[in-house]
């Protein structure tokens, strides 16, 4: 009878012991945070997710989980593992389904991966989840710009600027949208506004120089590029721009000087190689010119591949 009783009570006992042990070893939120601080993000996520499993409304755990997911995705992205990073964010959205931030991050990563319709959808999700951050508008503008919806992109960026009119980078961004659309007057106005708001910058001057160059206003281009070079003497684009402007004004010796510097500072910038090749030809240095133009052509092909809307080989499947 006693034996029987013991036999019956043993499982109960074991259950009690297991429960006690579990209670004692259940990691806390703080444990997860500590692991995060140690860089052990995956382990930290396990803890946050276990907490959320038990208590889905635990706000702190949700926030920490989102931070962990973001960090993990960033690390993967930093290692150029884009698909893995995207998977992390998408899994994360399942773990924290109402996180606007994760939807936002997903949208940004998708944009970077040229998955524009997907990126737009993700950012729309963030908006539906009431993400209260003007940066969402900024991100949407970027996606629209990348997808070639430039009118929409400009409108969205203008909405952002209504909330943050003093954001020099946003004026720069709006300028870029106009510039890509070849609306040079509007682009110039935005770049000048960006410079007014943040005088200590070189990039808006560079874009102004680029616009002047495209319109064959070479003196103006040289002035704009010189502003860039005042702040950043090694700006490959501005150096090449000066070289191109001088080449077009048939000042080949001076052009070559700038183009030599451009290539030294930006060895992979194909425009610099191209105009250096043309300049060398005009200076009668045929062999050097041919070499330089060959380099330019190779770089141009690579750039074409990168920026093309057409598809690259994914699975070779020879018959």
């Amino acid at each position: 009878m006693r034996i029987l009783s013991l036999q019956k009570s043993l499982p109960v006992l074991w259950l009690c012991i297991a429960a006690l042990a579990a209670a004692q070893s259940t990691p806390s939120l703080q444990d997860g945070i500590t692991l995060m601080q140690q860089g052990r993000v995956a382990e930290a996520r396990t803890i946050f997710e276990s907490i959320l499993e038990r208590d889905p409304e635990n706000q702190q755990a949700r926030e920490q989980e989102v931070v962990a997911i973001e960090r993990q995705a960033l690390e993967q992205r930093g290692g150029n593992h884009m698909v893995e990073a995207l998977q992390t964010l998408m899994d994360g959205q399942k773990a924290v389904p109402s996180s606007a931030r994760l939807a936002y991050d997903t949208g940004i990563l998708e944009d970077e991966m040229q998955l524009y319709p997907e990126a737009a959808r993700s950012l729309q999700t963030a908006q539906q989840l009431h993400m209260d951050d003007p940066m969402l508008l900024y991100a949407m503008a970027r996606v629209q710009m990348d997808a070639g919806q430039l009118d929409k992109a400009a409108q969205t960026m203008q909405q952002y600027l209504q909330q943050r009119p003093g954001d020099a980078s946003a004026h720069f961004g709006l300028g870029r949208i106009y510039q890509i659309g070849l609306q040079f007057d509007k682009a110039s106005a935005e770049f000048h506004e960006s410079i007014r708001l943040q005088p200590a910058q070189s990039e808006a001057w560079y874009q102004l120089g680029d616009i002047a160059l495209k319109q064959q206003q070479f003196d103006e281009a040289l002035t704009d590029f010189s502003h860039t070079l005042e702040r950043n003497p090694h700006h490959g684009g501005a150096l090449a721009g000066c070289g191109e402007a001088l080449f077009r004004e048939k000042q080949y010796d001076k052009a070559l000087d700038f183009l030599d510097r451009a290539i030294a500072d930006a060895p992979d910038y194909q425009t610099g190689h191209y105009y250096r090749g043309l300049t060398l030809a005009r200076l009668g240095r045929k062999e050097e010119s041919e070499r330089e133009l060959a380099t330019a052509a190779a770089l141009a092909d690579a750039e074409n591949r990168k920026s093309s809307t057409r598809y690259q080989l994914t699975v070779p499947n020879p018959q």
């Binding site: 997808a147 430039l150 720069f172 609306q183 425009t271 074409n304 920026s307 809307t309 080989l313």
Partner: protein
Amino acid sequence: MRLTILFVSLLLLVRSGSCQPTQSAAAQPALPVTPGLFVDIAPANGVRFLHQAPHSPRKYLLETMGSGVALFDADGDGRLDIYFVNGAPFGEFVPKGTIPQKTDPKYWNRFYHQKPDGSFEDWTEKAGLAGVGYGMGVAVGDYDNDGHEDIFVTALGGNRLYHNNGNGTFTDVTEKAGVGGSGWSTSAAWVDLDGDGYLDLVVLRYIQWDWDDVVCGSPDNRGYCHPDVFQPISMLVYHNNGNGTFTESAHKLGLDKPGKALGIAIADYDRDGHPDIFVANDSMVEFLFHNKGNGTFEEEGLEAGVAVDGEGRTFAGMGVDFSDYNNDGWPDLVIGDLANQKYACYRNDKDGSFEYDSYVTGMGGETLLHSGWGLRFVDYDNDGWKDLIIAQGHDLDTIEKSFPALHYREPAMLLWNMKGKKFVDVSARSGEVFQQRWVGRGLAIGDLDNDGRIDVVISENGGPGHVLMNRTNTGNHWIGFRLVGHKSNRDGIGAVIRIETTAGPQWYSVTTASSYMSSSDVRAHFGIGPDKTVKSVEIRWPSGIVQHLENVPGDRYLQVDEPAK
């Protein structure tokens, strides 16, 4: 750190040229613009061509690239006829070496003879022009100087030369002529390269391709591969032996540089009296072959500034025209390419080099979101300035999935030339046909009804042929020339005609080539504005003979025979 920060920095780092699409934005001109008026009369007038291009799940590149169209007077009745090139069927899995065959009349190339009332009748079978294989391009020229236009048709796996019998029928003389070729041929051009009075034949080839089953894109969004996936290949150049046979001479002439060639145009860009060749390559440097005058050529595209765009980038060169759009006497270039690349406009700098003028002419802004194939300069309103018409449509039938602002089907585009300085998009005001979305590929120009207003024929990939009659409301006058060479080739191809009106001079290089896989009316056409008479005409024949005419009445086509000296 959040991804946001990264995004902002990325935006700041974006450089011109590494970015994505855009939209039209050119400023409206101060001058009054003359819109065109074009009306598609094809189906109602007997032209019921429907191009066949199977689009398979394997996305064989072949299926999205064709085909071309020709406008020429086949039977010498003074009215232009139309010839459409057609595809052929193939299955989902195609073994290497396969040459698709035209198993059904719906795959035939189609020849439409124009009747006196302006309607067309299908003479394909009667003329013997149904063709074989998977057709691509067409080039028209009188290679044997017998006064009848002959037809060369390019295709995958072998081309065909049809000799015009002079009675509306043709004979396939490919074997005897030795111009069958091999590989995937695209555009072709007739031109007398060595000045011997016979037209030689330049045949472009696209890539080394043989039904390779390569997967590009993603498994759920497979698409046509970027040309980088394939190796380039040399063109074929057939020297006309003058006895009905040809000798392939690309290597001997220095024209065997491997490319990914789709479009060809001929002009004497340095005015040295020898025809030069421009080849539009897809996604690699473009070629400009300079005729050295000693029977050989040198490729000078990079040095001349036409191999890449203004920033030194390559683009997907497809259709091309090589003609003087700013009336300065020097042939300029325009090249169609894919969306986001801007059609390339190069102004001849008169020193052997060119300026990239896509931005300053406004053409860049007008074309940035479009993909241009067949294109020709054409003075549709006879104001004395060559305008530009372009057949459009992306090559990827899935493009909208990735880029919602880009389109597989696009309306054709008409750009009005504002005195050689700007091009203004007048499509929206130039007829309903410019609202209709087509998968534009081939384009040929010519005056179908001989009313002095140049008409246009456009072929689609997997769609109907379109015959766009020019009904532009203009009181401007015009003049046309049909050259008849005697020492030179009979078509006068390569001749340069200069006319002088009260508005100044204009130039035209006689050719049937240019555009994309297509062949246009060999007659030269000039709009002469309010003038009823042309003050002077100068014709520089390929033979070197220079001919002068004075006070030539306009509003007519004038046949001009080459003088003895």
